[in-house]
Structures are given as C-alpha cells and as structure tokens.
Subunit: 246 residues, 8 copies
C-alpha cells in the first residue's frame, strides 16, 4: 500500500489510528542499517525510489526490497544480474517478475494501462539489452512503448520503416554504440525530443562508450539530449516524464 | 513568408503561378556557393534551420541570413559575437534584434504568444550568458520562460524560492559550471524532465567544463539528460520541444 | 612495546642494558629482505607506519607484521582482502582483529579511549566499504566517530537528520560515487573542514571514480579538500589529525 | 555591520525597530538582478560569502560588493585581475585593500588579531602567487601564517630550515607545480594535516597542473588532502578552519 | 627542372657533363643549414617533397622553396598563413599561386591535365577551409575533383544531390566537425574507399576535433579510413594515390 | 543464391513466379526479432553485409547466419571467438570454414579467383592475429594478398626484403602495436596508399593501442590513413576496395 | 656460438667452409613462419635481440628461442609468465635459468664478469618485481648491480643508507609507483644519470601508472629520464649501456 | 668565484678570514625574499643550480642571477624569452651571452674545453629550437656536440649521413614532433644510450606533443629513455652526465 491508499483506508475506517501511526512514523524516510529509504519520493516526484542494484550485496537488496514494499505497491530494481536475482528470489515477495534481458526486477502490482507513445530505436543488435532496460522502465511507469531494433546508419534505408513511427512518437529514445551516429540522423528527422543513449559496444578507440558519448553530445541535430553510457534506465525514466507531461 | 503562407496566398490569388514556381524551385534545399540551406526543415521539424554563426565568415553569414529570410518569417542565428554582428548589421534586413548577452540574432517577426512553462535555473552569476542563450531560444520559438539565477548549492536555502517554480514547470533547464552539482539537487526534487547544461566556468581540474559534464552525466537523480558544454541553444531547443509537446 | 615504554621500563630496571641495546640497534629503521620498516615514524609523526597490503605477497605481509609488532603496540594494515587474510591469520600474533568490510587488520592492543567528534556521511549504500575503512582507521587511531549512510542528494530531506551532527562535528568525511555531489552540499552547510572521498561506484562516464573526483575538486563550497578515489584510509587519517589537533 | 552587531545595537536601543526590520527583510538571501547574495552564510558557516571574481563583469562586481557590504563588516573577493580592480576601485567603498600578488580584494575592516599557526611552503618561486592567495585569505579570516618559499625537492637540504616550523604548525599548506613532489616529502615529516595545492606551473606533460594534481592525490604520505589546481583560496580557507578548530 | 628532364636534356646534349654533375652532386638529398631536402622523393614516391609551413620561420621557408625549386618543376607548401605568405612572396620565384582558403602555395608550373574522379563532401560550411586544402592538393597532383559542401546529417535529404556523384566517384573524401557523423552515412552508401577527415569545428565536449575523430575511427560503415584532425592535405594526398592507382 | 542469380534463374524459368515473389518480399531488408538484415547492401555496395559477432549471443548469430545465407552465396562473420564458434557450428550450414587466427567465419562458396596485389606487413609477431583478420577478409572478397610478418623498426634491415614487394603492391596494410612506427617508415618509401592499423599490443603508456593510434594519425609520411585499433577487418575491407578500384 | 666465435673457429680450421656457409646464409636475419629473427643485431648493437614474450604463443616462443640459440651464446626473454614457462621448459635447451620474480628466461651461458656500478632503488616493496626485471637484465648483459628496496619518501631518513651508494654509482635506476616521487628526490642528490621507472602500483587516480609517469616526466631535478610504466627491462638495458660506456 | 676557488684563495692568504666568513655564512643556501638559492648544489651535483626562467618575473630573475653569480663562475638560465631578456640585460653582469634560438642565458665565464661526443638529431626543421636548447646546455656544461637536423623518417635515406656519427657518439639525443618516430629508428641502429625528446610540433591529434611522447615511451628499440615534451634542457643535461661519465 502506498500513502494515498493508507490515508483513504484510514478515512474509511479500514485501518486504525494505531496502524496508521505505526506506518507514518517512518516518514519521510525509513532507516535501515545500511540504507536510508526515501519513501517520501513517490509524493514528491510521482515515481517511487528505484533501487540501483549493481554494487549492493544480496543481504542489502533483500532488506531494501522488503522494506520498500511496505510503502509502495510497486518496487523496481535495475542492473540486477541474473546470478544475484537467483540468490534473492525466494527471500522477497513472490509477486514479482524478473526481466532477464533488461536486468530489472519488479516487485508487486504492475500497472496495466499504458499511455502516450514512446519510440525506442537501436543502431545494432548488441544495443538491445540497454534498449530493453529503457523499455521495461517505461512500461513499468505506465508508458506505451514501440521498439525497432538494428537500423544502423550503415544501411540507412532500414530507417524508412521507422519514419512513420518517428512522426507519431511523443518522444524518441535512440541507442547506439560504435560511432553513435544514429541519434544525429534521427534528430534531423524528428520534431519531438530525442534522448540519446551511448552504449559501450565496440572496441579499440571506442574507449568503452566514450566515442558515441562524445558524438551524441556534439550532435549537429538540435533537440537531442544525452544520458550516461549504457544508461537505459535513465533514458526510459526521462522519456516517461516527457511522455506523461501534460 | 514561409511555405504555408505562400501556398495560402497562392490559393487566394495573391501570388501568381509564376511567382510560386520560382519560390518552389528551391525546394527542398537552396544551394549557395558555400552552404546548402535546409529550407525544408520547417515542414519536417516545425522549426526552421537555425544558423550556427561561430566559425562562419561575415560574408557567409550575410549570404545565409538574406537567403533564408526569403523562405522563413523568422531567421535565428546563435553564437554570434558582438564584433561580428556590428560588421553585418547593415547588410541584413533591418527588422532584427541582437541579444547581446545571449549572442543571438533574430531576423524578422518574433512570435508574441508564449505558451507553456519552462524554468531556467543557474548555479552562479557567471552561468548567465548560457542561460540567456537558452531563454532567448525558448522565447523565439514560442515558449514561456521563467529564470532564477545564482542559486548555487553552497547556499542551498536559496533554492527555497525556486521550489514553487520547480513544482509548476513543465520542464526545467539547470545550468552550472564548477562542480555542476545543481542539476542533481533539482532533479531530486522535480517531477518533470530536467535538461542539464554544463558550463566552462571554472579553472584547474574543471578542464573547461569536463568536470560538470561528467557530474551531470552521472547524476544520481533520475530524470536528468545532458547537452554539450555551454550549449544553451541545445537546452532551450529541446526544452521547447518538451514544453510544446501535446 | 613501543619506544617510550621501553625507555620507561629501562629506567625502572625492568629491562637490562643489553636488552635495550638489542632493541635500539634497529633505529631508525629495520631492514627486511624486501622492506625497510620505518620504526621511527611513531616518534616523528605520532602514528606508526601503516601497512598498505594491496600488492604485497603473503610472505611479505607475515614478515612485515611480525617485525613491526616488535616495535609497536598496535600494527595496522589496510586494503587486505579476506582471502589473503585467511592465509596469513595463523602466522601472525593471535591478538588481532580483522575488519571484513573495512579490509583492515589491527594486530595488538586497540586503544579504548576515543576522543573528539568525526562525522562520516555516505551518499549511497555502495559507498559503505570505503566509509568503513575510514571509520576503523579513525577509531584505531583513537578518534570518536559517528556514521550516517545513504543520504544521497536525490532525496535531500534525508540530510535533515544529519544536520544536527554536522553542527556538532569537528571534522566531516563525505563519501560519494556516481556524481559525487554530496560533499558540495554538506560543505555549504558545515562550518568545519570537510574531507571528500570519491568512490569508484558507478559505470559508463563515471570512469571508475574520475567523475566524482573532478566534482569534488571543483566544489563550489569552500572548506572541502579531497583524497584519492576509494581512499577511505587517507580520509580517516587526516580527519583524525584534524580531530586531535589542539 | 553584521547580524550580531545589529541585534546588539537594537537591544541597546541604538537602532529602531523599523531599521532592524528593513535590514532583516533581506534574510536569508538578498536578490540582485544577476546574483542571489547568501547573507545567511556568516551565521551558518562563521565566514561570510566570498566573491569569486574571475568570470564576473565589472558591473556585477560593483553591485555585489556594495550590497554585501551592507550586511557584513568585511567583504572579500578572489581571483580579481588588476585591470578589473582598477576599473571598479572608485565605485566601491574606499575602505578597502587590493592585494596585487594574491589578486584579492578586502572591503571593510580587517581583523587585527591573528590566532593559531598555519605554515605555507612552496616548492618554487613561481608558485608564490598561489601561496599569496592562500596567505591573504588565512589572515583576513583571522589566522596567523608563516611562509617559506622555494624549498623544492631538487635541493632537499633547503627543507632543513622549514623543519622547526613544520614541527610547530597546526596545519601546513604545501604548494607545488611541475612534479608536485613537495607535499609527499613534507607529509612524511609532519604530524599535522597537510593541504596540498597543485599549480599550473610547468609545460609539456605537465598538462596545466594535471601532473602535480595526480602526484598529490596519490601521495604515499598519509595525512595529505588536495584542493583544485591553483586554488590558493580553497587551501587557505580549509587551513583556517582546521587552525581555528577547537 | 626535375631529374628526368635533366637526364633527357643531357642525352640530347642540351646540358654539359659539368652541369649535370653539379646538379647530381646534391643527390639524394640537399643539405641546408636547417633542413635536409629530400630531393630523391619524387623518384621514390612519384610526388616531390611537400613543405609543411606551419612552424617554420620565413627565412627557412624562402630558403627551402628556392632550393627545392632547383630540383622540381612544382614546389608545394601547406598550412601557410596569409601573413607569412605576404612576407615571403617577393623572395620566391614569381611564378607561383597562393590559395588563400586552402593556405597552400604552389611555386612553378601547375599540371593542366586532371584525371580520375575524386568527390569531396563537407558536413558544414565551416569545414570548407579543410576541404579546400584537400581539393587544391588533389588538383596540383593531377587529379580531377568535384566538391559538394554543407550536406550535414541534420538535413539528410541534402544528401540526395550527392548520391549520383557518390556512385561515380573513384574515391570520396568526407569532412566533418561537430559530431563527425557524415562519413558513416556516406560510407554506408558508397562502394568506393572513403577517406574521413575530422575537423576542429565545434566547442565544449568536441575537444578540438577529438569527438569527430573518435566517431570516424569507430564508423559502423566498412570502407572508411581516417586522417588527422584538420588534415585536408593528408586526405587529398592519399585520395590522389587511390584515384591514380592503376 | 544472391539476387542476380535469382533473377537470371527466373528468366530461364528455373524458378517460378511464386518462388521469386516469396524471395523478393523481404527486400530491401529482412527483419528478424533482434536484427534487421541489410540484404540490399550487396547491390548498393558490391559487398554483402558482414556480421560483427563480438557482442552477439549464439542464438542471434545462428539466426542471422541462416537468414543471410538465403540471400547471399557467401556470408562472412568477424571477431568470432573459438568458444562461440564451437557452440554454433552444427546449427549453421555445414559448408563453412572457420579461420581460427583471424576469428572469421565464412559460410558458403569462397571465390577462387584472387585479383590485384595487396601487401600486408606487421611490425611484430604479436600483431599477426590482426593481420590474419585483414588477410582473410581481403581474400574472401577476392583480392590477392602477400604477407610479411615481424619486420619491426628496431631492426630496419629486415625491411629490405619487403622493399621489392612495396614497389609492386597496389595498396599496403601496415600493422603495428607498441610505438606504431612502421607505417611512417613504409609510408616514406611507398608510392601507393598505406592503410595503418594500430594494435593493442603493448603495456603501460601504450594505453591499449592509444599510443600507436596517435603515432599513425600524426604520421610524417603522406599517403597514410588509419583505421580503429585492432581493426584488421576494416583495413582489409578498404584495402580491397582500393585494390579492386578501376 | 655467435658470429665472432664462428669466424675464429673457421680461421682455426675447427669448422669447415660448408659449415660456415650454412651458418652465414641466414644473415642478416633468419625468417621463421611468424617471426623475422634479427641475428645481425649483436654485431650492430653489441647486444643480441631480446625476446618480448608477453603476447607470444608457446609455439612461437619455443620456435624463436631454439632458432636464436643457434646464433647466440645467450638468449634472453622478458615478461615470461611462470605458467607459460612451465609449458615450454622441456622444449628449449636445458641450459637455462628462469628468474621467477623478474619473469625473465636466460638460455645459454651467462657471463660471469660483472663490471661497473649500477644502483637500483625502489620506493616500495610492491615495486620489487620491476626492479628484479631491471636487475637481472643488467647482470645478464654484464653489469654489476646493487639494490636497495623500499626507501619511500614517506620516511626519507631511510634514504640515508642509500646516500653512500648514490655517490658511488655510475648510473641509478629509481623505481616508484603511487606518487612516483622518489626519482625527483634522488635526482636532486645524485651527480650521475637517473633512469626513472613508473610502476602501476596504486589505485584510483593512479590510473595504472599514469600518475607516477607524469610525475617523473615533470621532475624538477635535472638528470632524470624516463622509460615506460613497469618497463624494468628498458631501464636495465639503457642503464647497462650508460654503465658500460667508455 | 665558486667555493673551491675561495677556499684556495683563503689558504693562499688572498682573502681574509672575515671575507671568507661573510661568504660562508650563506651556506648551504642563500635566501632571497622570493627564492632560496641552492648554492650547495655545485658541490653535491658537480653542476650549479640552473634557473628555470619561464614563469619568473623580471625582478626575480635579476635578483636571482646577481646573487647566484656571487657564488658561481657561470650562471645559466633556460626558457628565457627574448622580450624578457631585453628588459633585464642591463641589470645583470655584462659578461654574458644570450642564445636566442635556445632561449638560454649564460652569465660569466664559459668553459672552453669540450669533451666527449654527443650527437643531436632532429626529425624536422621545426624541432631546431629544442635541439638548440639541448646543444647549448651540453656545451656550457663542457661537452662536445655534433648536430644533424631534419632527417625525418619520411625520407629515411637522409639517415645515411648520420650513420657514421651514430657509430661514434657516446650518447645520442633524438628530437621529434608529429609522430615521434625517429628515436625508435635511431635506437634500432645505435649501441649507445638514446635520449628521446618529444616536441609540441604538430596539430590535431598530436595534442601538443602527447602523440610523440607516447610513441617514444613505447619505443620498440631498447636503449631509449624519454624526457618531457620540448625539454631540450633536460635532454642536454642528462646527455652531458652520460657523456662525462667515467
């Protein structure tokens, strides 16, 4: 249950004053031994805190997920490796889905209604995991997404199919490694905001994504903004904000 | 006149078939000796081509402005140094405004109606020129803008005034040099997209804006995307796209 | 026994002239095959030499610890991986503690009295190992420490709890990876020295801690100085010096 | 007058309720057109806001200095080039001193009592301007300072004179360009905190101070923390905080 | 006169044995005080030594040009600033042309016949000086060149005109600053070698051409090789070699 | 079968209208779930799409190879590790060769006729895998290749043997790690285009191939262009284009 | 046998004309499949070719060692990992020594006479493997070496013992990681050439040895030259050349 | 007069006890206001302190030169711009020479006897100023020097002349910008130590000398050590030490 539901239930008499007090005593944040949960964030930012799982231990993750779940209907974790997931899966609420390609876990009730129109494009096949991370985040937050993968610049005619989608989208996420050229091309065609994501796909003078990052920051096409290398989550999050803007 | 007006005037009989043909023969691009004007862009992207003046010669600028003006009601140029402006001002249409702080020139009719709600924040006083570039672009494209300058993190209580504006904005541009910290702080409070602009303000290990650029790309706050160092234009452009999104 | 105790015991007649001579013959440094122990350092700098264990072999570590122990009551080693510790634990004096999170070993008598007031703050959960290294060093050297973890800038209200501690501390260590923003925020609030520690937590354009390092070096808040990436030891050491300054 | 004096005078009846209200209405910050003065900082951090003059226009500086002066007895500005100073000197309060080497301006009453014991060492002659910046800041804030210049490592015996000062200091600032070696050497001898300042003195693979910056961040001697390249101000500020720590 | 002509004239009796000996005594290189002229290069590499004028003094240039002219029909110098040219123009053989945009000087007889088919494309107007350098070199060496300028990716339809030229060319030089995207797009369409030239046009995270350099080195399109930033000369030279390959 | 053969067979009545329609319906690209095959490329660029296998999963590779094989007589994949090859070898057409040193797979009929004259030189023994990648690509595309390995600059007389080959080649690929010096030396001797390939062989300040990359981009010898670090494929591809230029 | 011995033996009649011819036919280099042995180097440079084993395969190493051994009395290989050595040890001449710390193999007769006076100093214990590489090379080439390890700058008095050796040496190798400070200190004291070797010991802003490399290149002490990070071999080689200079 | 002469004169009675005491009271260093002269260096290192003039003010230089001159027969300053020299020339002892190309000043008696054999080679004409700096230093310190300029690798046959000098030299300085290739080539031929000096000659991906610096640090030829970019002084100094080694 999140705060609004609790307040409504209290008003309806479904929960007692004692219960609501025990719940509210943790506002605006709940301290664990190792972590300070920002349970106020959902009120402040409309989206609850999302867990960055990459460097956290399994014990920490179990602790955080179980505690956050008390305050939110849906708890989301990103960059969760499959090995780690398998070790924690029986110690967290069973109502959860693990998205293997996206490395995302969603614990709780996933919203059914998807709104708006986000388009995700990748330059190559190897950019798909980052695209999946963006896509799952968008959908978990309630946005509608359409994906077209592997339309790299070396065969620009493959962009033709994408053109009608580019015209209809409210915001476009473009993901590319290697030379990172696709966002400039798409940015030159689109009339909506483009969020560019460099990926670490490549070798040599790619320098783990530095090359496409610089390409995108210097894009000749106006209307392009950039997030961190491999940051599908960040791209999905801001695209959702733009998409749900009224 | 832009294409739509020309077509309408032709329909109304205000211009002849010969006139419209002479106009249309340049579609979709007009070649000058040194430059290929993208006069089709307004149709494709809703916004006409905007001239990047930084490395262009005066002759080139005069040529480009005068030719683009034939196809568009409003021609915009960015990164135009005052010295260069003074040398070209009498060789371009007299109906123009030069925004000195923003280093922007607007030739033609500036739209009066401003819509939506863009908030621009700067961390310091020295970030103002970049903020002015963003602000002027937003306004020339038709967006309403509110600016609050110098609310750096070293005195966070100065952020209080900004809070109510942060809550009302549809998109926020945050501009910072030095450590580039402000976008993370604002991003943690806002529920709308944040466009972060690093500036080259600083010295030593700032490396001409590299430090705030990296800070912003690594922002812990979700919902932040980044444009190039000192790129007020790019930030204003994408913020306008987000702001006018429907 | 350290030098002062030996001299006192000699004066009291508890050790003979021959014994003290054998002890003193190694001053001011004791040469091992591979290492030159700086046993004079405790006199010169008040703190005995502390062993950097990262690249040393097990044989070297056993040799160094056992030899240093002859001259000092407490021998400290940092960056000691657990695997390495398990291999040497039975070949060093049994009176020792291994701090697993901090990767520190303390051989000998740990001082009980803790003085002063050092505050350690981390931006995230994943910065805790570095914080633990700082904390254990401070305590082993005799400083009192209070820690608050995971008060990152994305949820600034979590800083509120820390405010009263910030006001009372004599020196503050602030540890952050990703964007490295927290030291600037704390530095803007504190009236005591802030030691900032960038961590290698992050990915992509974080470049293994380069991003937060640059952020901290460019901090807009005065009163902040920086140590190496992940250098919890260095931060703890200088914080202790500041804390025990009279 | 600063806040405490105003309150005392009000209590003594020297200023009226109307006067104090007009003064207090600007708390906690005073907005100018371009700048938001943090007049609350003196209460929060014991030291008033210090103006970073490097990229500010003359008009902005005059405006800021004159406004800040209303709230504080002493207004300090750093990185003020002589040419700029000469242009503003007659438009700011006449009771001021310009420190040419240090590029610092102090407007108002400079404290006479200097306390504690800060030692400033430079490796070379060309590091002196940075040292002067540090020294003037320390003295303006009320700390006692002793300076020894040009004791570079290429002639280590020159360090001998410094040794007795090193033993007596409460905190040491060590400034070096080129190879940046001096802080490591001093750090190995001192038992108090060392603040290291890399300077941009050098050429070639010095990369404008990057070389000594990295040297200092990697110092083998514990007890060393680093500030930005050429940041004499930052070093002086934190050294003063350490020196006045109780 | 070059070596072949001299030998032929000697055979025909037009020059004496003494004359040819005085000429040949300098083979294979002619030493000046400051420079060692590689007069053997024309035989070895088909193209005579070309002078890199950037850091040379005027005296050196006059000396080199006049001496090289004795051995070759055509002497070429690159990266010669106009100011320098004006100072040396009366001290070198009058039969010369200075190409101002290309910053190239050609002393002697320029070949009239141009062969093959080199296409030069630029992304922007500001890339023209580099393109001119490439073009003049190609033509001086005897290649036929066609140029299309300013067909940047932000308006890809401008590429249409270029398409027929792309199909007919034997080799294509593509020049771009900012994001450096054009070579990848052209490389995906062409069936001949593409030589990519990054330019230093741009600002901020462009890092003086590093961004487009990395883009081009990582090009997803096969068939692209890269020369140094702003190296129009190098691109023209290798394009000529490819174009005249049999 | 490729498109030309299909059309010819259709004309000859060997395949039915229904068959050719089913084949043509995929033009100009065939969409798989994860990949968009550019089957049009062979017509456009003379060379079919070549698969970059490095980051692709085994399932993706099997899928791509089997689908591409339907449209082309020869399908090529690069950077295929032996482990990955062993896992997919029984799920792809049996008529294939795996080149272990070159890490290249060729599925289908390899052309027998080799034309022209490409010379491949390496500076060291450890550059051979990159050379093999270049060589196999050249041969699969139909070029004749001659290789001389390990003629590093530290023993320049070893270059003598290569000299006669240098004179006869139509294009030369020069591969070097460490200091990357060989292309400059060869470039100074050759009269044909030189394609330089830096390799990541080396350690320390080699920075994984950055050192030879910079060396080659700055080559004093004209006629040298560069591809990405370790990009034997790219070098072979453009060398083949130059070699088969008419 | 090396060339001189062979010639002498031939003169003495110990080997036949046929034998010497078969030997000489490989001059000045012997081609293997993968490697071109520079057997002329011993005559040209006094020292035979030394094998860099790092990236070579076992088959290549066995082949190279066995072939080189035919032409030289002593064959040396560097950077040979123990695992690799164990795999090749029975396939190379049994008269060899493997130096485990130095990762060097010496096949054949090691010279007994050591001349001159090379001093090797390390800053830390973890720099010893690089020092051992330098030491073994010096000794194999015939130089006398004295080593003092772990005299880091954090305890400068440990340098005292070294002082008398510094005065007597003909050349000094100084090896340091972390801040790389020791060469500057030694350089300020010595009157002979100092060869500085940065090591990759350290973490964080050490950037794998970049920090000490820059420190050493910027050394304030004249008389210091630098070799690559971890390049003990290179330092030993040039030190031997200096030491054996007459 | 230097110390030895003073002592001899005192012994001979030419100077009084009072005179020698006044002289000796400054040992081992003489403090000026801004500088600490290391007058002990000549005894310790055989060469007196040499002044680095680059960032010093004119007043400082005059002060330093005049004071050092009291203790040494010859005072040397490097990196002295002509403009600065012209301003100080009448305020320093008239017995001095200013070497304009080398930017070196020598005040006092220059030694006539030159010993040994140092060879200086440059790759290009534009490397000459750095070579002159090295040459003048060598000669002022008493070494014999021979220079050959502009023998770049693009025309390797120009190296032939140098070969006989390479064989006779005791140490070789090789200076190169651009690709920095020459030291590797020379190092492969020489049997004496090679000191490599990268210069900042070049543009684009040269990065002000970074490219040749990395080339030289990674040299495949053993026997090469490197000094800082443009550091002709450092190369000359260590070459002199090697040359005068006994």
């Amino acid at each position: 249950m999140n705060l609004i539901e609790i307040l409504k239930n209290y008003k309806k008499g479904k929960i007692t004053t004692k219960q609501i007090l025990s719940y509210l005593q943790d506002y605006p944040y709940k301290k664990l031994l190792h972590t300070t949960l920002d349970i106020h964030r959902e009120i402040r930012r409309k989206v609850p805190e999302i867990i960055y799982c990459l460097h956290k231990t399994e014990t920490q993750l179990i602790d955080i997920i179980n505690n956050l779940k008390k305050f939110h209907n849906l708890v989301i974790g990103t960059k969760l490796e499959k090995e780690k997931y398998l070790k924690i899966k029986h110690k967290i609420p069973p109502q959860h889905i693990y998205f293997e390609d996206a490395k995302i876990i969603a614990v709780g009730k996933i919203p059914k209604v998807k709104k708006g129109n986000i388009l995700i494009l990748t330059a190559g096949t190897t950019d798909i995991p980052v695209a999946e991370e963006a896509k799952v985040i968008c959908e978990l937050l309630g946005s509608k997404v359409y994906c077209i993968y592997d339309i790299g610049v070396a065969g620009l005619h493959r962009l033709n199919e994408a053109l009608s989608y580019i015209k209809k989208a409210k915001v476009i996420i473009v993901i590319a490694g290697m030379d990172g050229v696709l966002p400039s091309v798409v940015g030159g065609l689109a009339k909506v905001p483009v969020i560019a994501v460099p990926t670490s796909t490549g070798y040599g003078a790619n320098f783990n994504g530095l090359a496409p990052l610089l390409t995108m920051l210097n894009s000749c096409a106006a209307g392009v903004a950039v997030v961190n290398i491999d940051n599908g989550f960040g791209a999905g999050y801001i695209a959702h904000l733009i998409n749900s803007n009224k």
